[in-house]
Amino acid sequence: MSASFALAADPIDPVALVEGVRTDEDGALATFLGTARVVSRGRRVVRLEYEAYEPMVRAEMDRILAETRERFHVGAIRVVHRLGVVPIGEASVGIVVAAPHRADALGACRHVIDRIKERVPIWKKEVFEDGSEWVGEGA
């Protein structure tokens, strides 16, 4: 079964993602969407901006998807992450996993988002009404 990853400038269509993974062998489809939140650390966020070290993102995602397939009994996996401006309310990341059973679908979906947060070289800037800040930099 296939696993794919894409970086995208355009909004993520979760229905298309789900339709892309479902087969008649699957009894479970797990979907995770990370969405741009209007309040962060007590400040009002206007939009998010993402950037990536693209060749390394692809290499890390290949490793993460391979490791997910080893740990969970799953069918197809699709992951999309946005680059550039993401308005409030839109999804910045979408993950769908098809599997015969729910425990593997949910576990694999969780595994993928947790590894992305931990080690994939993508950076998020929160733009406020009165300035902006790269998240996690401690600046």
């Binding site: 390394m56 910045s92 993508i122 950076w123 790269w134 996690g136 600046a139």
Partner: protein
């Protein structure tokens, strides 16, 4: 020796460039010595946390450099 430096997020903002060629590094230069050269050029980078990847693989600071390496300074990631 010459290496290509890639900068992202707050590192790029501080230096004002996303790519820098570091030339004239000594043959025994390491990731750490490349960082020191960058900090001379841009003192605002001092003390900022960053992991380092050489040719797309994360490496420790004492990793020796070779001619033509691509050295990326990776601030704490915040994707998702």
């Amino acid at each position: 020796m010459r290496v290509r430096i890639r900068l992202f997020a707050g590192w790029r903002d501080r230096l004002g460039e996303e790519e820098v060629l570091l030339e004239g590094l000594p043959p025994d230069a390491t990731v750490e010595s490349a960082r020191a050269r960058l900090e001379e050029r841009c003192p605002a980078l001092r003390g900022l946390p960053a992991a380092v990847a050489v040719n797309l693989v994360q490496v420790p600071p004492d990793r020796p450099l070779r001619e033509g390496d691509e050295v990326a300074f990776l601030p704490p990631v915040s994707g998702g």
